[in-house]
Symmetry: C2
Subunit: 428 residues, 2 copies
């Protein structure tokens, strides 16, 4: 087949510009690999005249991404605008209705509307690909959907928000408090306009919900992701975890349990010698576990012009080569509605609390834990900070439900300042 594959690109920010560069600069390489030319015919963005360092004058211009999505000279609508609703959603729907394939980097869109969009696309015989939406340049969707297609997936884990990992590793390496590193990250432009998307775990949660759907053949269910951000992690937590041989990571975990599908995105302790523990800075990592393959670990840049454009182009090249797969690896109509289970898999937990410096304070805590069936593996009391005693407890394995019961009981004790911080210690 030598008919060119014609792209219409909506959104010319960092990623869109990166895609334009690759298509312009590597025309021969792409044609050789795909067996046909890959070209851009039309683009759309907020500003036509902004200097992006690439020439877009050769391409037709559309102010409206919906109009771009409907153009006759576009085969693949490449959606790089972002946002779960608004123009991205409207244009993606329009593209499918107009019989276009779709490549998108938009995790929010798919986390919220993935099932409906996939059903629409498949009814129209069109594909939606979204490698760039999860873990930047790492071809994790492909690994999971295709490379591991012979596996029953047992667990998927990931550090998939580079900003959070930057903040946590920078706190550790520089010994700086959360607020200061947060501000640093802000100055460096690492944070989304609404930083809660990053530090609240929402962005990473979107990604996890997409991986879970693919891994377990279930409908995307972002609302079922237990979300916890990194805002309450202190430099003391980081030091104390390190003392015990752990690192704190904003870790996503999805696994099938006897009681349903568990999806968690929360700060966890992982062994400092594990690949996850050793992940520094903005790098992302996905851990895929299957009954046949055991464990595969993928590591790479989670963001940036080149890596994200690389992922977009991987999808484009698949389409150019005629690889057509349902959005989530199997027909959308065959995806089960998962029963969601909230942290039913037991794990040891790290608990950090501040107790009033009164006789018997520690005993009260230990008693409440014991009464709730939570047994203590290790306990440390640190030097008083004024009239408060920082106390650290590592529990034996416990379910989150049992732990929550203990935490509630502890909150009623008069010796307890602030609610305790509880972080799961994940077996990786």
């Amino acid at each position: 087949m030598t008919t060119p594959l014609r792209l219409g690109i909506a959104g010319l920010g960092t990623v869109g510009t990166g895609v334009v560069k690759i298509v312009r600069q590597k025309a021969n390489l792409l044609a050789e690999r795909a067996g046909r030319p890959v070209v851009i015919t039309a683009v759309s963005a907020r500003s036509r005249d902004k200097d992006r360092g690439v020439n877009i004058k050769d391409y037709a211009w559309e102010d409206d991404p919906v109009a771009l999505a409907q153009r006759d000279d576009v085969d693949v609508f490449v959606e790089l605008m972002g946002g779960s609703d608004g123009p991205a959603k409207a244009a993606t729907k329009a593209a499918i209705a107009a019989g276009k394939d779709v490549v998108t980097a938009n995790k929010a869109l798919l986390a919220h509307h993935g099932q409906a969009l996939a059903e629409a696309a498949e009814a129209a015989g069109k594909v939606i690909r979204f490698e760039a939406a999860v873990a930047g340049g790492i071809p994790v969707i492909k690994a999971l959907t295709e490379g591991l297609a012979g596996n029953e997936i047992t667990r998927v884990m990931g550090v998939m928000n580079g900003t959070c990992n930057y903040i946590l590793t920078r706190m550790q390496s520089a010994g700086l408090p959360y607020a200061e590193v947060f501000e640093e990250a802000n100055q460096l432009g690492y944070l989304e306009a609404d930083p809660t998307l990053d530090v609240g775990g929402i962005d990473a949660g979107h990604k996890l919900s997409l991986l879970a759907a693919i891994a377990f053949g279930t409908q995307v269910d972002f609302d079922a992701v237990e979300l916890e951000g990194i805002e309450r992690i202190t430099i003391d937590d980081i030091h104390q975890a390190a003392d015990m041989g752990y690192r704190i990571k904003l870790l996503g975990v999805a696994q099938q349990t006897g009681r349903g599908l568990e999806q968690r995105m929360s700060p966890c302790l992982v062994p400092d010698t594990s690949p996850l523990g050793q992940l520094e800075g903005g790098t992302n990592m996905c851990v895929l576990e299957g009954d046949a393959v055991e464990q595969i670990v993928l590591r790479g840049p989670g963001a940036g012009e080149g890596p994200t454009a690389s992922a977009v182009m991987g999808d484009v090249m698949d389409i150019a080569r005629g690889f057509r797969l349902p959005t989530f690896g199997q027909p959308a109509t065959s995806l089960a509605k998962a029963k969601s289970a909230h942290s039913v898999t037991p794990a040891p937990y790290y608990l950090r609390m501040a107790l009033e410096d009164k006789p018997g304070a520690l005993a009260k805590i230990a008693t409440v834990l014991g009464e709730s069936g939570v047994s203590i593996d290790r306990m440390r009391q640190y030097q008083h900070d004024g009239d408060t005693a920082p106390v650290l407890i590592v529990t034996h394995k416990v379910t989150r439900a049992d732990l929550n019961q203990a935490l509630e009981a502890m909150a009623t004790l008069d010796v307890m300042r602030d609610p305790p911080v509880a972080l799961r210690i994940e077996t990786v």
Copy 2:
């Protein structure tokens, strides 16, 4: 499409048995994911009656793999016999001639005959897939050929022989000499019948030559791989490397240089904090570098029933889904014959030598190095071992050609016992 995809499996050792188990136990999952059933119709192996823990009575039996490859009820010939020539080659050729697609785990076959087989397959409109031939369960061929298809690949590295990595890490962790750990590995059944395939770097070299062909769009050229085994690595090398913050790995590196394609499989020093440096035991790792994606690291089991069968099934599922790609990612006839360059990329080197304990011995070495243009970054002389002084030198960056000249000159010195061991320090 609901026509079943029919497999004929030649070779029922560990991997073949693993594939049979997956196809039998996951019929529904595979059908859902592929959109059609995947079935086995016929098998072939050395012994029909051996107890393999799976029931093969449902399948037609062929004593001769060539006959299996030619059966009318086989769509995909799955070659899991091994060996670069003999029955594996004959049956693969027969399969292509009979219009079958081929899935193989046979690195030796493709390293030696990949170009001819690929040309034959493509002329017949058939595909050859070989994910299981490189790095076991890691979907690295797929990542490189498809996921990174928008990249100009700049370098590919890999630790791809689990046995060598087991030996090297076991030497380090247990403080045991090479010979002893080699024997251990032998007892554990980790070594090939001809152990040179493992410890001589040949098996890993086969894999590197396949990765290089895909990465750089060149014809497989195993003969151009500079091969060096791990047989001369001593426990002292391992300790001394560790002292300086390095680990020794049997590392494959392929990169395009201004003077041609460099392919090396040799023991190298890598930083102990890098993902490669931290790789323990039989686990494999591939590092893929591209101009857009920067660096992707893939880690996973390099061998074993489940992981290798997982890779085979990834290929089978691609074929079931109708994904058809030339063997090396672009048409075999378009693959360039690479000009091969031997270690032209300069690097620092670790040199270990034994000098006679005579006045001026060290000065002679330093002089020869200086005269050959090799400058010294660090030098250590260790406590005498009888009348021999172990000396360790780390050079500044030097090409292997310049270093070899220095090594030759050093070999003529009367103070030099045995030829020096020279290990490259690779930037990862």
